[in-house]
Amino acid sequence: MRNMKNLKTFFGKYAIYFVLFFEIVFFSIASPYFLSATNFVNVLRQTSIVGIMAVGMAFVILTGGVDLSVGGVTACVGVICAKLMISGWNPVFAILASLAFSALVGIVNAFFSHEFKLNPMIVTLATLQILEGIAYIVTGAIPVYGFTESFKVIGQGHVGSIPIPIIIMIALYVIAYIILKYTKFGQSIYGIGGNEEAVRLTGINIRKNKYSAYVLCSVVTGIAGIILLSRTNTAQPSAGSGYEMDVIAGAVLGGISMSGGEGKITGVFAGVLVMAVLSNGMLMMDVSEYWQWVTKGIVMLAAITYDRILKKG
């Protein structure tokens, strides 16, 4: 009786890791090509863009908000950086300038959702529209390409045999882990998502923390946008479309509660991996893309329902 209960809490706590484990076992049996070091690196590389964005998203959702504009940020950062480089800017300055732009987006998102107490879902839906519009206006809907060779390194380079995007992603997870667990900012974020009014009355500056979370989310997304640009070597105004769903799905699968205040960054990483392994495995099994969508949706529903049932029990 007692042991059963412990088992249940154990499974509840680590549900996402079990899902990941079973996924890997399943695909290893189903496809002979799945279980290999190359494929493993491949999965990580493919997921690095979403994986990086999920780090920033986790911060915003933990405060009790959400950021739907990440796809727009990815696109805008890409085209701005590309246009600047084409017009002769040094890539480093082009990158810094486009990241500064992403920070500005974060400020705008925080400004409207915090100062006017608007629903962040609606605010960021609006900024998403604006950003996507800007991306098309800036490019005239024509892809931009022709950057210097050195710019490719970010998205396509390796350190040893490990692709640089993976290194950046892992570094960001480590930093996020430390921030959330050990710093004043991280702990305040958790508190704000749990009960904003109670936290305000303890003297913690809500405004500062919320702005920081949104800016962090946008800038981290900006970094993902740069990596994407470097990897594809072309700036497409449509580059970011649909990312918000993958990113939020990863975070929520990983146990970040949409009402804020709960969840761990390690879980987010696992959540993102679950989705990535699923795509990769199905690809290896020659499942058509449309069936992949259906399957992903079902896994998502199953995982969050399972989580909820265990938490309640």
Binding site: K5, Y190, A198, V199, R200, L201, T202
Partner: protein, 495 residues
């Protein structure tokens, strides 16, 4: 009393929460007779709320059985319980805040006409029931917009409307003023006379003695004794509850006046009109008045929690700009808010986390928290306040009501403020701990700190304050010192 002529019998009831090392209640056997008013008392965390939640089906039992009107009772939810005639007025209100008053009252038993809801009829009947209870209110208002007294009236009205035969009340008087308590008593007595059996939980023993026929004492999850009310004294009851003798609840007052630490001039806000007062080091200043007098509002303005429209605050003779709680805390002011759930705690976080929040800056170096230091300091206070929990890591939502209140106190004591404002500090706290809190207040003052206490409990206000300021409709109506502080003088000034 035996099971036959009892409306409710418990036999060996046990409840162990998931993940808890020991049961919250164990081996509870008792019988409640038809038409009785049955009192339940015990320290914070003794298991009173747990007991009634198992009866009402809000949580499942681990062992034992419940017999209701001669048959075995199995309720899987409070909704099922109320349909079987068992209604509960919870310590934590249990209404749907986003529904209107009448929708709550008719929840699950809506009146229908031709398949559609008959709103007119429900509104009319709801108004009728509430009027009988002595409340006039707009029943189409949302419950979230009501004051605690009206929310409670709605809960009772819901019970009446469902024709309950057994009504269980968990600390119903805690959110009410003395006058409202009087009114609630009338209602309870009336219901009882019409045949409703009542189980009544409270930390206020005078209420228990006033109202009940029999009293059971819970200690550490066990039923230690059941008395006939007329056969027991308050002293004996307290001894059973806390296991020791408590003769004097309030420590002796000694006020060695220090210099003025706080001076408030013409403080003005939405519900506060030109409030001025001074506070000295070493002083305990009480604020008296009826609900709506503007005491809480005054303190929230002073603390920067609400926007003030006028007034100046001086701290140590220097003008202080306080526009937010952050400013207030930097100026050495702390506020323990009256509503622990909404304003005092992050419920789904640990005791440790909650205690750390106000002091998070104090325990951080360049943004990093020094957990070890914090943990040891919090641990010390935790022992002093005797928070009943598995450890500091326990979620606050899993503490009993009184223990949650202790956590709110603890987090502000840890902050070590020069000026501490306590708004209803002992709400829901047991006798033994109350005494300890009064001693703590006295100690703070003796250390040269300044304390402001708001309380709706007259004896408490009189018992701890060196000086009392009385407010009415947002203005100060008078000030009382020393022997002038009595129930009568306060009441005269309060209205």
């Amino acid at each position: 009393m035996d099971a036959k002529n009892s409306i409710l019998s418990l036999r060996g009831v046990k409840k162990q929460y998931e993940g808890a090392p020991i049961p919250a209640i164990e081996d509870i056997t008792l019988d409640v007779g038809y038409g009785e008013i049955y009192g339940l008392v015990g320290e914070n965390g003794a298991g009173k709320s747990t007991l009634i939640k198992t009866i009402a089906g809000a949580i499942g039992l681990t062992d034992g059985e419940i017999i209701y009107k001669g048959g075995k009772l199995i309720c899987k939810s409070p909704a099922e319980a109320i349909n079987k005639g068992i209604g509960v007025v919870y310590q934590e209100f249990n209404l749907f805040p986003n529904l209107t008053v009448y929708e709550n009252i008719f929840f699950g038993i809506e009146i229908k006409k031709n398949g559609f809801l008959d709103r007119k009829q429900m509104i009319r009947k709801s108004q009728e029931i509430l009027r009988q209870l002595g409340f006039e209110l707009d029943v189409t208002k949302r419950v979230s917009a009501l004051s605690p007294a009206y929310q409670q009236a709605t809960e009772i009205a819901k019970c009446i409307n469902h024709n309950v035969e057994l009504m269980i009340m968990d600390e119903p008087s805690a959110p009410l003023t003395e006058k409202e308590v009087g009114k609630m008593f009338e209602v309870v007595r009336k219901l009882n006379q019409s045949g409703v059996t009542i189980i009544y939980i409270s930390h206020k023993l005078n209420e228990i003695f006033d109202l009940t026929d029999r009293i059971s004492v819970l200690r550490d999850g066990h039923l230690v004794h059941t008395f006939r009310t007329e056969e027991v004294t308050e002293q004996e009851l307290i001894r059973e509850m806390v296991g020791r003798e408590i003769t004097e609840i309030y420590p002796e007052k000694d006020f060695r006046s220090g210099e003025v630490i706080l001076k408030v001039e013409n403080l003005t806000g939405a519900k506060v009109h030109g409030v001025s007062f001074e506070l000295k080091r070493g002083e305990v200043l009480g604020f008296g008045g009826l609900v709506g007098a503007g005491r809480t509002e005054t303190m929230r303005l002073l603390f920067g929690a609400d926007r003030k429209t006028g007034g100046t605050v001086y701290i140590n003779d220097k003008k202080a700009e306080i526009d937010s709680p952050t400013d207030a805390i930097q100026n050495g002011i702390g506020l323990i808010p009256e509503d622990r759930k909404q304003q005092g705690l992050v419920l789904n976080k640990s005791i440790f986390f909650n205690c750390l929040l106000p002091s998070i800056g104090k325990y951080s170096r360049s943004g990093f928290i020094r957990f070890k230091e914090a943990r040891s300091d919090i641990g010390k206070l935790y022992d002093i306040l005797k928070v009943k929990a598995v450890n500091q890591g326990q979620l606050v939502s899993r503490l009993s009501g009184g223990n949650q209140q202790k956590v709110v106190l603890e987090k502000w004591l840890l902050r070590d403020c020069e000026i501490l404002i306590l708004d209803e500090p002992t709400r829901g706290i047991d006798v033994g701990t109350k005494q300890e809190i009064y001693q703590l207040i006295k100690d703070l003052a003796a250390q040269g700190k300044a304390v402001i206490v708001i309380s709706s409990e007259m004896p408490e206000l009189i018992g701890v304050s060196h000086r009392v300021i009385v407010m009415h409709e947002g203005k100060i109506t008078g000030e009382l010192k020393g022997d002038e502080i009595t129930q009568e003088t306060i009441l005269t000034l309060a209205s």
